[in-house]
Symmetry: C2
Subunit: 83 residues, 2 copies
């Protein structure tokens, strides 16, 4: 069965996020007042074959640990949906 | 009221995504067989003050149209949650 996995990799809370700060500043300059806590990470989508959704989530978690996320500076979240 | 907005900005379907292709190839080299359709975009989180969730979503959509996403090459999705 094929599953579609959405991964969100974000800079860990408390770590500086210069890209997010730059965007927050730019939004203020464009007139979007009251925007705070802007943080920018990566959104990754992929499809994989697995027997169950749990199996797909487990493999996707391995991919994050080994390649997709930096375990020192980033956190990730997964969503798995059947296709 | 403060709302937290999660934005996912992805390369439009059909457009080449070299970063996604590189990751797909790297996953294969690491032994994750059967991974396909890897696409890489940006995950953006921000907080904003608004009267209602619909109002927050509308403003976040304006931010995407004006700054956060490239309307020619990217699509975006929003999720709004109350804090």
């Amino acid at each position: 069965m094929t599953f579609r996995v959405h991964v969100r990799v974000m800079p860990r809370a408390g770590l500086l996020d210069p890209q997010g700060q730059a965007v927050e500043h730019a939004l203020g300059s464009l007139g979007f007042a009251g925007t705070q806590q802007v943080r920018i990470g990566r959104a990754i989508e992929l499809e994989l074959d697995a027997a169950t959704a749990d199996d797909a989530a487990g493999r996707a978690r391995q991919m994050c640990d080994r390649l997709l996320a930096n375990p020192v500076t980033e956190d990730y979240e997964l969503e798995v949906e059947a296709r």
